[in-house]
């Protein structure tokens, strides 16, 4: 079975790399189409995740096909469909999978025209956020979903909202992301109460609430790892509330350094306003760190309050701080850290991810053949 996967950018996010690698090692002949104009930089890929791959990254890229659709579009060389047609002609895929709803909306017509089944991955941003940016987005999404063979989501929680989309009859399949095992770094005795959080510095991640919560936690310190538009906002808050001795924003951190910093922290905090389960959260849990999380889409499938994590309220600074004070309970934190690690190991097994995705693709092809 030839599957053409269209990824929104290269290098893609870590979980997509993991997905691509796990499927590449399977029986599926996977071809990648990249719709972003970014250059393919292997050194960057290496800096993101060097040791998680059993096979060197260049093996993966050597066998993949890349096409800069958007770049070509900008250069007005032709339309994007011409490029897609070329890839389809060359590789004769049995199925096209779009990892981003934007790409699916833009390119699914080509698949329909050639009677090639296509599938799409949807995330919470596709359902809840994109429409805020573009009012015309939802009708386009609905139109695209009408003729999709199957829809992939990573968390059950999204299913009910996707099911409500009118005239969409494609089966919805939940396949959790693949996450490899990490070395466990347990908290040591008498460790200072140091929190860590990571992600893109955008409002969606709610770091501004977390920084404000630190006002009420004078015995704790916090590192936020990430870059993004909210950097100045966070630095402003840190200075305004005189937190610079306890709270810092660390930019341009490599994945290895990030892992080291998470290992040295007492707990990880996920303060997202709308963000799904993040890869950094999974990393922290897989390292046996206790986690404090807001209850976003999919979180209740991963975290059970006071069992393998502790919930903090979204956007409620004082409530957040109150919950974070639980960090002082060393025994509870130890128990939560252990349970967190077990949960990730059970739920995000790469082999299960691969098997389910192959089944997903096969079912999509089978449905269309019928």
């Amino acid at each position: 079975m030839n599957v053409l996967e269209i990824v929104p950018s290269w290098p893609p996010s870590m979980y997509l790399l993991e997905h691509i690698y796990s499927l590449h090692a399977s029986a599926i002949n996977l071809v990648l189409g990249n719709t972003n104009s970014s250059d393919h930089d292997i050194t960057t890929v290496n800096s993101i995740r060097p040791s998680q791959f059993f096979t060197p990254v260049y093996d993966l890229t050597k066998f993949s096909w890349q096409a800069n659709f958007r770049k070509l579009d900008k250069m007005r060389l032709s339309n994007v469909d011409k490029n897609l047609s070329y890839i389809i002609d060359k590789h004769q895929p049995d199925l096209i999978h779009f990892h981003s709803s934007h790409d699916a909306i833009q390119h699914h017509h080509k698949a329909v025209e050639l009677s090639i089944p296509y599938t799409v991955s949807l995330n919470s941003s596709d359902i809840y956020l994109e429409v805020l940016e573009d009012e015309a987005y939802l009708p386009k999404l609905y139109e695209m979903l009408k003729s999709t063979a199957r829809i992939h989501i990573s968390y059950e929680g999204l299913a009910s909202d996707v099911e409500q989309i009118p005239e969409v009859s494609a089966p919805i399949t939940t396949i959790r992301i693949a996450y490899p095992k990490s070395d466990v770094i347990p908290n040591s005795d008498n460790m200072p109460m140091h929190l860590i959080s990571a992600g893109e510095l955008t409002w969606q991640n709610g770091f501004h609430d977390l920084v404000r919560a630190m006002i009420h936690l004078p015995n704790m310190s916090l590192d936020i790892i990430g870059t993004g538009f909210d950097y100045r906002h966070l630095v402003f808050l840190i200075h305004t509330y005189n937190l610079q001795d306890r709270v810092q924003v660390l930019e341009n951190i490599t994945f290895d350094s990030c892992r080291d910093l998470i290992g040295k922290a007492t707990a990880y905090v996920h303060s997202g306003i709308v963000q799904e389960v993040s890869e950094y959260l999974l990393l922290a849990m897989s390292m046996g760190k206790p986690v404090f999380v807001t209850n976003n889409v999919g979180m209740d499938e991963l975290v059970e309050d006071r069992n393998n994590g502790i919930y903090i309220p979204i956007g409620e600074v004082v409530g957040m701080a109150k919950q974070l004070k639980t960090l002082a309970d060393v025994d509870l934190m130890q128990k939560i850290g252990n349970a967190a690690r077990t949960s990730v190991e059970k739920m995000f097994v790469p082999q299960t991810h691969t098997e389910k995705f192959i089944q997903f693709y096969q079912s999509a092809c089978h449905d269309m053949a019928r």
Partner: protein, 373 residues
């Protein structure tokens, strides 16, 4: 005294156009230099109808006056080692030989080097952002800014707080003049019936304006509605908050509005709210006060220089949605108090934001620069 005022674009912002029109009546020799590239500039095909959209009808002076004083952009082809903006400003200086060059925005401050090297005094305006965030997040920027401020013959600020901040950063006394921005002050404030319990807030949708706090405060004000006028990069965030907190029936993002619509909406609102985390002195706040609206404001930047708690406005706590809601709820429904605050706010606006005061302040500012060049 010939003054060259440098602005980045034309048509420029409403308040700057107003400033130029008013000032040109007092100082006929004032000139406007626009530094945009010719491809982007509207100078070559100056479109008055478009400008009329930007500059509403409250201007008494015909726009021709400003049009006549525009100098345009000069020949770019010579002096190849200079940037486009540098060439533009240099040509303007060479051709018009001004006594003073004034830079209105910090992203034009780098151009000061040209009048400085030519021995022509230059002055700058500080409106807020250039001396606030940038200064303490970026040490290199702060050092550069201090160097420029120390070279300037005089510094204009829109409130005292910015002058204090500049002095603090540069650790030296600076020739700072506070000249407040003028706003339209209706001769006869109409008695428009205000909607019951309707708040209005106006600003660019930017994190500094604290709209995310104000929207969260609305959870605790179930009988109050809020209209937010303005657009910007926080639109998605605020839109998401409104929907996720189920406030869409009471909180509305209206985008940018023409002045007439904005004024009507302001008149119909019960009170104006400013939830900013950082400000110089907000033009919208001044406009609300001029329209006789009671104001609820955070005590940031230069706001407290003109707002006195319980006299002509109320303070709400910055970054504290629950505290904000409590304060608003406590006073908004007191009709008599709201009326008193509105009248007092209007008096303050008449005193502080008139065209006459603004022009007088700027004339004194330029006179000082001219005498101390």
């Amino acid at each position: 005294m010939k003054i060259l005022e440098v602005v980045p674009t034309w048509p420029t912002t409403t308040f700057l156009t107003r400033h130029m029109i008013q000032l040109s009546q007092q100082l006929p020799s004032i000139q406007v230099g626009v530094t945009t590239s010719p491809e982007n500039s509207m100078l070559n095909s100056f479109d008055t109808s478009k400008t009329m959209d930007v500059v509403p009808l409250y201007f008494g002076t015909p726009l021709r006056r400003i049009q006549a004083t525009l100098l345009g952009i000069m020949n770019y082809s010579s002096k190849p080692d200079l940037s486009l903006r540098e060439k533009a400003i240099l040509n303007l200086i060479e051709k018009n030989n001004p006594d003073i060059v004034h830079f209105h925005f910090n992203f034009l401050f780098d151009l000061h080097i040209l009048p400085f090297k030519l021995g022509i005094p230059f002055t700058v305006s500080l409106r807020g952002p250039e001396i606030q965030m940038g200064a303490f997040t970026d040490k290199i920027y702060r050092e550069k800014l201090c160097k420029i401020l120390q070279r300037a013959t005089a510094i204009h600020t829109v409130c005292d707080a910015l002058g204090t901040k500049a002095t603090e950063y540069c650790q030296t006394e600076l020739p700072v003049f506070t000249v407040r921005t003028s706003v339209p002050i209706p001769a006869k404030p109409e008695k428009t019936v205000a909607n019951t319990n309707s708040l209005i807030s106006v600003a660019r949708l930017y994190w500094k304006k604290g709209f995310h706090d104000l929207i969260r405060a609305m959870i605790y004000l179930p009988n109050v509605s809020l209209n937010i006028v303005g657009d910007g990069e926080e639109h998605h965030h605020l839109s998401y908050l409104i929907h996720s907190l189920n406030l869409q029936d009471r909180v509305h993002l209206l985008g940018e509005l023409p002045y007439e619509e904005f004024e009507l909406l302001m008149r119909r609102s019960t009170a104006y709210v400013q939830a900013s985390m950082e400000e110089g002195f907000s033009n919208s706040l001044a406009e609300a006060m001029a329209l006789g609206k009671p104001v609820f404001v955070t005590d940031v930047g230069g706001t407290a220089e003109l707002i006195e708690e319980g006299k002509n406005g109320m303070f709400i706590p910055m970054g504290d949605p629950i505290g904000m809601a409590k304060k608003i709820e406590q006073h908004l429904f007191d009709t008599q108090l709201m009326q008193q605050l509105g009248l007092a706010a209007r008096e303050t606006a008449e005193r502080e934001f008139s065209d006459e005061k603004h022009v007088q302040g700027f004339v004194e500012f330029y006179n000082y620069a001219y005498q101390n060049k």
